[in-house]
Symmetry: C2
Subunit: 224 residues, 2 copies
Amino acid sequence: MKVEMGRPIGDLAADAVDVDSEDEEEEAAAAERRRRITAAAGGDGEEELLVPPLNFAMVDNGVFRSGFPDTSNFKFLKTLGLRSIICLCPEAYPEANEEFLKSNGIRLFQFGIEGCKFLSSDIRDCHVQEPFVNIPEETIREALKVVLDVRNHPILIHCKRGKHRTGCLVGCLRKLQRWCLSSVFDEYQRFAAAKARVSDQRFMEKFDISSSKHLSTTFSCSKR
Amino acid sequence: MKVEMGRPIGDLAADAVDVDSEDEEEEAAAAERRRRITAAAGGDGEEELLVPPLNFAMVDNGVFRSGFPDTSNFKFLKTLGLRSIICLCPEAYPEANEEFLKSNGIRLFQFGIEGCKFLSSDIRDCHVQEPFVNIPEETIREALKVVLDVRNHPILIHCKRGKHRTGCLVGCLRKLQRWCLSSVFDEYQRFAAAKARVSDQRFMEKFDISSSKHLSTTFSCSKR
């Protein structure tokens, strides 16, 4: 599932329907406000402020998570000294982001996971039931291997909003770190908020770490 | 304002009224569920699970945040290899926690900040207006110095619920790290959720970092 920089995995994404359009408008407005604040700070001759991507947070030493970074976030991302980025969206990586990766020597690992299982023909149903997304287990396992490999650190994990796909990957990492399920869900919900999905939580609950336990010993908050 | 292990700052706390009793009940129930899960995992002969404190997160390299840790969290806290803890509550540190600090060689910095400005005589008003808390600026400045001193790392910042007092201290740290205000508030709200306070956000907005800028250069995500 690993692809090189900017190569999209199929074109299924074009058919995917996003059910969160109101949410997106809110987020676009918030992004615009942040851009204005940053511009204003620069315009006043003050030191320019940094704008972390939406839902940005540190997961563990050398591991970060966020929503999709845009150009306003590049200056901030530079401060992290990233070596790699895991993108969990199937769409082609935007040209500006590709350019940023190239000029900073950052490797892209793209693991395309659909954000919503509904295809355009299902749009009528989108508002009457929770969007159930099949998070593909094998893809998450492959992505986990990349996260656990310290040669890829510092690494940023992102999807579109940093809630569901990123939340599931980080949740599986927490299971490997032996966090109890309540704490895994607590963290997932902090980022997903009103958009938390039972199906995501069920995925994390079922995710079997018994075959991956040997990986967890090489990576932990305690190994500083 | 810095006190040594276990010495409470005054007894004002006894008069403070907590307006979030429902919230507390919910949290106590969640803690109990987590304790049961952990106990069950141990009882089955499986490897015991780790239980991070409520609202636990990594802030930056060597800096963590959370709500008040209890005995169920000690095993997890051990994995962080903490050198220090900043407690922002004015109450005496619980005996079990003191014992944990002693046996793990962890230094306690206590900066007592009231969680709610209402005293018992004000209880009638508590439900009709937002609890306005005067976060004492000088105390936050002193606590920030401790956070920024890498000799104290790894360090855990906590208050009672890891929302307001911890949120303000972390927010001021983010300003020093040149985060734009929107991102500072976004992070604060992720932890405070429905309990977010305008007064806390106003405190962070007004917090002047111009005299502390020299400190920020020694500490950042980018200095790994």
